[in-house]
């Protein structure tokens, strides 16, 4: 190989335009489209930057944010003080949206697999080629009448699930497995069955008593910053009619001494999965000591007070103590306090809803609010207030074909798919899939028994064609046949209406701070394009572009329409009716959204499928067969991470990048484990190794491991790999431990009613290695 300058220049001189640069998408030619310079010749900064109002999506809370753009780049994301929910507060994740956008390991071009699946050999393809391949496959399936063999799955998309569903239905498949709700499946089903809403909004800012079961709002409630700031408010100095109000009481039931437990008036280290027993016993005390709200039960519940009291009698505090380990005297006292303090509310999230008995337990917790008359009152347990968005006509009909995946027969009340069971069900032969498309969905990492799922995803007989739409090279993308680069939330145009804490619903816009990087495309644009290319009548359901679609979605909101619709939102980021006053007891107008129009203490729908129609406690099966040396494994979420989407964010992973297993000091001593020792955590499904963190603040029969860490793809930061290209970076990426994920050792176990995963029902043994 001989190279001389002269030689090179000689060729440079003789070569003419015969050498065309590249094929298809021509980066260079496009990039160097030379236009006369703009006015901004100066390279100095110091100019005041105009904030672009938008909406965060680094978690479900969807806070109001501002993007600051300078010279074509997003330089900062900050909070929007005008946003009614987040009111100028923003967590680390929200600010690290910049990292997601400028992820040094971002997927920016369509890729096609070369060689065996999972080998990691790829070829870049053009979008044109990608579209042609996808369209051809979908047309073939359609021609063969096998539309239902196209399955579209996305388990954490709360924003664009409507258009994803629309796409699937217009195409003709019932397999739009894109449903999700804040708080998860089990919460949603329990809440729907009880009072017809997806989840509750505890009005903590105005309450006097906060009773928390299995929730850690100081780190991880589904409404995050918007929620915790109101608890802080209720716990600080507040005034009413110029008088100082006492701070709200905060009682926490949690196996872990969390940030929330630590800030509470009382922390009760409860045995995991037994919250239902405690809540039932409290309800029993309230009912049997006559402390209940006669009027609310009589008028708005579907079960008479005397009958309820009789039913609850057997659930005594002593009974609950035996099950949960919480002293009966405390249960009694807290029950009385809760009933005597008005308003009061409960808070319950993962600790309640990530078990096999979640739906029952959640109903027990909800019951406490009903019997004390705290339902949808100021400072109580409120219905979520938000706007529903309209679907433009014509609306595609739901395909009538029966789908096991979309409505598994063994989960009659789950109303939608059971996400963690989808791939295993395909394996079991309960559904045939020819084309599997996923969007921002990473089951290989984030699902229980993830390694099993990886094996299934690798199996080309099981899943012949898999297209991943994502902006990261995830563990699942690594096993795909094609990867399509998706725009991140900082590059997309979308509408949101998160539940309003001021009880006045609002609409909030997400708008691109900058154009999608590389060849990334927003999911809505992608689906619209695909629909038009597939054609065959499907295109008439997509007679719009993304902007047109969003305009349609808000036409029914008169006030917003008058204010200027989408252009108003683009200017202001959000809209709400400024004259509206918060209203409570909204059920008084039309009743609850349940068959009886009442708060259903007794659920006919549950009775129909053989479940206990009344709030009850169902022991966790695995608990009944605990051996001497076995412990409960529970998981938790770090405040600076999402479950599985933020690991390659530098600012976040610098704070949390490894996760030890938290173990009680006494439990550790008995096993000869000291703080910092390497240990093996073993379950039926497998084992993982990590360091032990020995603490007092955890139930002695429990070990806890956080999620978000332990990636084996997802980029270099997620895997704590130094950026070898530059010596200085090793200093910046100073950590070398990437942590572990507990998911591989967690078995797939579902709540039979809600279908949601029992994340916290795994038995483990732990030993020093």
């Amino acid at each position: 190989m001989k190279i001389t300058r002269r030689g090179l220049l000689k060729i440079g001189a003789i070569s003419t335009s015969a050498i065309t640069i590249g094929r298809g998408f021509n980066l260079f030619a496009n990039a160097m489209e030379l236009l006369p310079g703009g006015k901004e010749v100066s390279r100095t900064t110091g100019k005041f930057l105009k904030p672009i109002p938008s909406t965060c999506l680094n978690c479900y809370a969807r806070c109001g944010n501002f993007g600051f753009v300078a010279y074509g780049g997003l330089i900062k994301i900050g909070p929007n003080p005008e946003h009614p929910n987040s009111r100028g507060r923003m967590c680390a994740k929200g600010q690290a949206g910049v990292n997601l956008l400028y992820d040094p390991d971002r997927v920016m071009h369509p890729l096609k697999r070369v060689g065996p699946r999972g080998e990691g050999k790829w070829k870049r393809i053009t979008w044109e080629e990608a579209y042609i391949t996808v369209v051809q496959k979908l047309r073939q399936l359609k021609a063969a009448g096998k539309e239902d063999e196209f399955v579209f799955q996305s388990d954490r998309d709360i924003t664009t699930q409507d258009i994803c569903r629309r796409f699937c239905y217009a195409y003709g498949t019932p397999n739009a497995l894109v449903n999700h709700s804040p708080g998860g499946w089990n919460k949603r089903i329990a809440q729907m069955l009880t009072w017809g809403a997806d989840f509750e909004i505890p009005d903590v800012a105005n309450t006097e008593y906060i009773l928390i079961f299995g929730s850690n709002p100081f780190e991880a409630h589904y409404m995050r910053t918007s929620f915790v700031q109101r608890i802080v408010e209720a716990r600080g100095l507040r005034t009413e009619a110029r008088l100082v109000k006492p701070k709200a009481r905060l009682i926490v039931f949690d196996p872990r001494l969390t940030q929330t437990s630590g800030r509470a008036d009382e922390w009760h280290p409860i045995k995991p999965g037994t919250d239902g027993a405690v809540a039932l016993a409290m309800a029993s005390v309230i009912m049997n000591e006559g402390l209940y709200d006669r009027e609310f039960i009589g008028r708005w519940c579907n079960y008479p007070a005397d009958k309820l009291a009789r039913y609850l009698k057997k659930f005594t505090p002593e009974w609950a103590q035996k099950i949960s380990g919480v002293p009966a005297s405390d249960i009694k006292r807290i029950a009385k306090e809760f009933a005597a303090t008005n308003p009061a509310t409960t808070v319950s999230t993962g600790g309640v809803t990530k078990h096999q008995n979640s739906v029952y337990t959640e109903r027990c917790v909800a019951l406490l609010n009903a019997v004390t008359g705290n339902v949808d009152v100021k400072g109580g347990y409120c219905l979520p207030r938000s706007y529903e968005f309209a679907e433009p006509d014509p609306i595609p009909p739901v395909p009538q074909r029966r789908s096991e995946l979309a409505h598994p027969v063994d989960f009659p009340l789950a109303s939608y798919e059971v996400p963690q069971r989808v791939i295993p069900m395909i394996k079991e032969g309960r559904a045939k899939v020819s084309f599997y498309m996923t969007y921002q969905y990473n089951p290989a990492y984030s699902h229980p028994e993830g390694h099993e799922i990886s094996r299934m995803l690798k199996d080309e007989d099981l899943i012949p064609f898999h297209v991943v739409i994502d902006s990261v090279y995830s563990e699942t993308a690594a096993l795909a046949d094609m990867i399509l680069p998706a725009a991140t939330y900082t590059e997309r145009l979308e509408l949101e209406s998160p539940p309003a804490f001021d009880m006045i619903p609002f609409v909030s816009l997400r708008q691109p701070f900058i154009n999608p990087l590389g060849e990334s495309v927003a999911i809505t644009d992608l689906l619209i394009e695909l629909a038009h290319r597939i054609g065959g009548g499907m295109e008439r359901y997509f007679n719009f572009d993304t902007k047109g679609y969003l305009e349609h979605r808000i036409t029914h909101i008169d006030g917003l329409k008058k204010a200027g619709g989408l252009s108003y939102l683009k200017e202001n980021g959000l809209w709400y009716d400024k004259d509206a006053q918060p209203s409570f007891r909204t059920y008084e107008k039309k009743g609850f959204d349940t068959p009886s129009k009442k708060f259903e203490i007794y659920s006919e729908r549950m009775a129909k499928y053989g479940f206990n129609p009344l709030p009850t406690y169902e022991p966790i099966q695995q608990h009944l067969t605990m051996k001497e040396d076995e412990l409960f494994l529970i998981t938790y979420q770090w405040s600076v991470h999402t479950h599985d989407r933020t690991a390659n964010c530098m600012w976040l992973s610098e704070i949390v990048h490894e996760n030890q297993v938290f173990i009680n000091a006494e439990t550790a001593r008995l096993r000869g484990i000291e703080d910092g020792d390497m240990v093996e955590v073993i379950s039926k499904a497998g084992s993982i190794k990590t360091k032990a963190r020995v603490v007092q603040g955890i139930h002695p029969n429990v070990v806890a491991i956080g999620d978000s860490c332990g990636h084996w793809e997802y980029g270099r930061i997620a895997q704590a790999k130094a950026f070898e290209s530059d010596v200085t970076t090793t200093k910046l990426l100073w950590w070398t431990e990437k942590g572990v994920t507990p998911n591989p050792i967690i078995s797939i176990i579902s709540d039979p009613i809600g279908g949601g995963e029992g994340w916290m029902d795994t038995k483990v043994r732990i030993k020093k290695i």
Partner: protein
């Protein structure tokens, strides 16, 4: 008159050389922006005077593996390499902004709809070609010193060691040699 003629000739030679240089930059840019066409393949064969025996697919996979699929440490963006000690690895880093400012100052505009980052190696090489066409020697020297030299030789070394094909080993070697020779030439001129 003779003297004038001579100067003309020198000017002409210089302008031919500049055309050749500008073309060379554009060609190199093309090697990093897309998988090669047949012509580019032949061109390289000739330029490095040895025969390359890679398969088309081998070259395409090599291209994607190194420059497109994340996580291999060879994304061709300056800001991932030319960083201050306290700057975290990120797209659109300080170097990117600096390069973007450079383009602006010289009246070059990148079509934003392409989503291409200003510090992609191809865009930088292409821009250098543009500066040569403008015959702005000062700007060339500055751009070389402040940007191209800061990362491209090192980047090419890494490509050379990671490439699975002769083609990209050739491309990286050629690019590095050319950039270094350019600096020698420009330095000589300035003296």
């Amino acid at each position: 008159m003779d003297g004038y003629k001579g100067e003309d000739k020198e000017d002409m030679m210089e302008s031919t050389e500049n055309t050749a240089r500008a073309r060379a930059y554009e060609i190199l840019a093309g090697f990093f922006s897309n998988e090669p066409t047949r012509e580019m393949f032949d061109f390289l064969n000739e330029a490095i005077s040895c025969s390359i025996e890679d398969t088309i697919e081998g070259i395409e996979v090599d291209f994607a593996t190194m420059f497109i699929v994340p996580g291999n440490g060879l994304q061709p963006f300056e800001s991932l390499y030319n960083r201050a000690p306290d700057e975290e690895p990120s797209l659109w880093g300080k170097a990117t902004k600096d390069v973007a400012g450079f383009y602006r100052a010289y009246g070059v505009h990148i079509d934003e709809s392409t989503g291409i980052l200003p510090d992609h190696i191809s865009v930088e090489l292409g821009f250098m070609g543009h500066l040569i066409e403008r015959e702005d020697n000062n700007a060339q020297r500055r751009f070389l010193e402040e940007h191209l030299l800061k990362w491209i030789p090192e980047f090419c070394d890494r490509v050379y060691s990671k490439a699975n094909t002769d083609f990209y080993k050739g491309v990286s070697k050629l690019t590095k040699e050319f950039i270094l020779s350019e600096y020698e030439a420009i330095k000589g001129e300035a003296r």
